[in-house]
């Protein structure tokens, strides 16, 4: 049973955590892709910028002498989400909207978003340095050891406080997004614009308002994802490029323009990553007494070594593009 607990710790917990992060990022990417019709490459840096905003907010709260039972970075999260939403709107207004109004080709917007990526990266590293940072300098990270009630396993299941908060936050975000998109007028307008922008415009929908809302949601969720990832591990300024490919893969697997698809895609990519770097011989060893002598179980049997983890989202992306470019949830192919 210890092997099973190991599996739960290494795959279920880790996959849920990284899947939630990817889902939070992919929702923003898929909304921008569906409504504004371009692949927003600066999303990874929006997440990094959001995490740094939370770090600054946490430092501010700490200086004010605020102390809470929750991690202080989590308490600062709403501030970071607002700041990042404003940042996303500002970026749209200064860099993307003029191109959109000029009627530039969508690929030009993609290039502009890469320019924005570099600007954000340069600014973050200029002001915050290039070294990784931790949110937990002034306080301790709570780690829960859940001992199993039966005797078969003596190892506990280990989760940390940020991980629990992350899963709760993702669930809350999904529910809120669902109600917003299906019940509110603005949410319905967003879905209409995503389905057919021209038709939405002639029906009297204010597409600029829709674009602004999209950026607010995308920015807020990006900040949440970035902050929670940095609370779980550390805050690295070069986070963005390693996040970008899994997030795009998640958005495309789920179907471009489909927020639920993006959430499913995020978990799919997250679990695929953890399952393929997991050392399967740990589980196979249990079978050793049953198997004949001639079968030798290798000490290391993983599909992909951890340093090649980036191959997994790429592989998923390629498979989806070959077999079903619309994604699981029948999104669009632009």
């Amino acid at each position: 049973m210890n092997e099973l607990v190991f599996f739960v710790n290494k795959v279920l917990v880790a996959g849920t955590v990284i899947g939630s992060i990817y889902a939070l990022g992919a929702v923003g990417v898929t909304l921008v892709f569906g409504i504004l019709r371009f692949a927003h490459f600066a999303h990874g840096d929006l997440m990094t910028a959001g995490a740094f905003a939370a770090l600054a907010g946490a430092a501010g709260l700490h200086a004010l002498g605020v102390s809470t039972p929750l991690p202080i970075g989590f308490v600062a999260l709403p501030l970071a989400m607002i700041a990042t939403a404003l940042l996303a709107m500002g970026l749209d207004r200064t860099f993307y909207r003029p191109l959109r109004e000029r009627g530039a080709r969508p690929i030009v917007l993609v290039m502009a978003s890469i320019g924005v990526t570099l600007m954000l990266q340069g600014l973050v590293r200029l002001f915050a340095g290039t070294a990784p940072r931790s949110f937990f300098t002034g306080e301790r990270k709570d780690i829960f050891h859940i001992a199993l009630p039966f005797d078969l396993a003596d190892r506990p299941i280990i989760v940390t406080e940020p991980q629990v908060l992350l899963v709760l936050l993702t669930a809350a975000a999904v529910v809120a997004l669902h109600y917003f998109l299906t019940r509110s007028r603005l949410g319905k307008a967003m879905r209409a614009t995503s389905d057919n922008a021209d038709l939405a415009r002639v029906s009297g929908i204010d597409t600029e308002l829709v674009a602004r809302t999209t950026w607010i949601i995308a920015g807020g969720l990006a900040a949440a994802g970035g902050t929670m990832l940095s609370l779980d591990v550390t805050l690295k300024p070069d986070l963005s490029f390693s996040l970008l490919l899994p997030i795009f893969a998640a958005a495309i697997v789920g179907g471009v323009g489909q927020p639920y698809g993006a959430i499913a895609g995020g978990f799919l990519v997250g679990f695929a990553e953890t399952l393929s770097v997991f050392n399967w011989s740990v589980l196979l060893r249990v079978l050793a007494p049953v198997l004949p002598e001639t079968v030798e179980i290798p000490t290391k049997l993983a599909f992909v070594p951890p340093e090649y983890k980036i191959v997994v989202p790429f592989f998923i992306l390629v498979v989806v593009l070959v077999w079903r470019p619309t994604g699981i949830f029948r999104g669009r192919v632009l």
């Binding site: 371009f38 993609v110 600007m119 340069g122 200029l126 070294a131 992306l317």
Partner: protein
């Protein structure tokens, strides 16, 4: 003489004056080094320029193809590693290679079974299962061999062939990698190509960095051979001058060939596809096939340019391939120089590379001055990693340049000049 020709001449004259000033200020050897690197970047810019300017394709993986070019140079032209050949590992490696070839043959055969009447679904499932099994067998067989090579011989070494074979192989390898990517993504919108090239570049970098048995990984390989006499033989100035002659000749040759292609029916067809895909398809042009052609051709040029660039530096360092120094710098060269204009790509490459090399000391000077001022006026306690932060300023400037050029001068300094054909016969 029209206005564009005047602008081209003025830009070229400005470049010559700039190079002359740098030569007077920093010396001949430094100037030659800068020019050689700039001409290698010009080859990269030409390759990316035809992908973007002729085909409208957005390749964000330049750094991956550059790394592949460098890797091919190492593999073909680095001296033979006797330790590796004399140890038993060479035979072991050949055995693993044989496994891989056999495995691929088996998988391919299974994937063709549907021709013999096996149901499609079953055939696909069997192919996937066979591919996974072959992959696991080959990787588990490779692991101990790789460890043995690293322990006994360091790495596999090269083949000891002349340097130019490595450059050609670099182009071929880059083209080989580009082909499947293009096949998968070119039927879809170019956003997907951008995402896929970004991914493949990261994968190539991860592979070259971690496959220690093949590339020595972070230990780096040096010195790489040159196709011309090296500085050890004839001194810095003459060696670099020789290298510059070679790369400059390559730039000119590639430029002339590309210009001919641009004016030929092939180039006209490419522009037609880029400007109006639907009508080109309606005229019977195979849009995806042509795009694949231009994507592979551009990647081959990038691979050759990358091999030349890495060979010149003489160190193959897989950890040194940063997207910023290759992908995005080359992008700035292409869009600033003028997309669709090959002369623009070359001028952009020279101009941007000179500014880029000068910007490093400039950024450090600026930030040192800022620190002194801040210290003197406000008692500002500067962070200790100010130097590494100062260099990040350049990242910001590159990004700002891209966005500004796209917004205010989308056609670049030297815009595309579509050739006008004289009307023949009565209207």
């Amino acid at each position: 003489m029209n206005r564009l020709a005047v602008r081209e001449l003025a830009l070229l004259a400005g470049l010559v004056v700039m190079v002359g000033l740098i030569q007077a200020w920093l010396g001949t050897a430094y100037t030659l080094r800068m020019l050689v690197e700039a001409s290698c970047y010009a080859i990269l810019a030409l390759g990316l320029g035809i992908q973007w300017g002729y085909g409208g394709l957005f390749n964000v993986g330049v750094v991956g193809f550059v790394a592949l070019g460098g890797f091919a140079s190492v593999l073909l032209s680095y001296p033979v590693n006797e330790d590796f050949l004399n140890s038993g590992s060479a035979a072991e490696l050949a055995r693993v290679g044989l496994y891989a070839v056999l495995g691929i043959a088996v998988v391919f055969a299974i994937s063709r079974l549907h021709r013999l009447g096996v149901p499609r679904g079953l055939c696909t499932a069997a192919t996937i299962a066979a591919a996974a099994a072959v992959y696991l067998v080959v990787t588990t067989a490779l692991d101990p061999v790789a460890g043995e090579i690293e322990a006994n011989a360091g790495f596999v070494g090269g083949l000891g062939l002349p340097a130019w074979t490595g450059w050609l192989a670099g182009g071929a390898l880059a083209g080989l990698v580009a082909w499947p990517i293009g096949r998968i993504c070119l039927g879809l919108r170019s956003d997907y190509l951008a995402i896929a090239t970004l991914g493949i570049a990261e994968i190539i970098k991860a592979f070259l960095k971690n496959a220690d048995w093949l590339t020595r990984g972070t230990l780096t390989v040096s010195p790489l051979p040159w196709p011309v006499p090296t500085p050890d033989e004839v001194g810095f100035v003459w060696a670099r001058a020789g290298y510059l002659c070679l790369t400059a000749a390559m730039v000119v040759a590639i430029y002339v060939l590309l210009e001919r292609a641009y004016r030929a029916p092939w180039g006209r067809m490419m522009r037609a596809i880029r400007d109006n895909e639907v009508s080109a398809a309606a005229m019977g042009k195979d849009v995806n096939r042509r795009r694949l052609e231009i994507f592979v051709l551009g990647s081959i040029l990038i691979g050759i340019g990358g091999a030349a660039l890495v060979s010149f530096v003489r160190i193959f360092d897989p950890a040194g391939f940063l997207p910023l120094n290759y992908t995005f710098l080359v992008w700035v060269m292409v869009i600033l120089g003028g997309s669709g204009n090959n002369l623009g790509a070359i001028v952009g490459a020279l101009l941007v590379y000179i500014i880029w090399t000068l910007s490093e000391p400039a950024a450090l000077l600026l930030f040192d001055a800022l620190r002194d001022l801040g210290d003197a006026w406000f008692g500002w306690d500067a962070p200790s990693d100010l130097q590494s932060r100062a260099l990040q300023m350049r990242v910001f400037v590159i990004g700002l340049t891209i966005t500004l050029v796209l917004r205010f001068a989308p056609r670049g300094v030297l815009p595309e000049r579509a050739p006008r054909h004289e009307q023949v016969g009565p209207r």
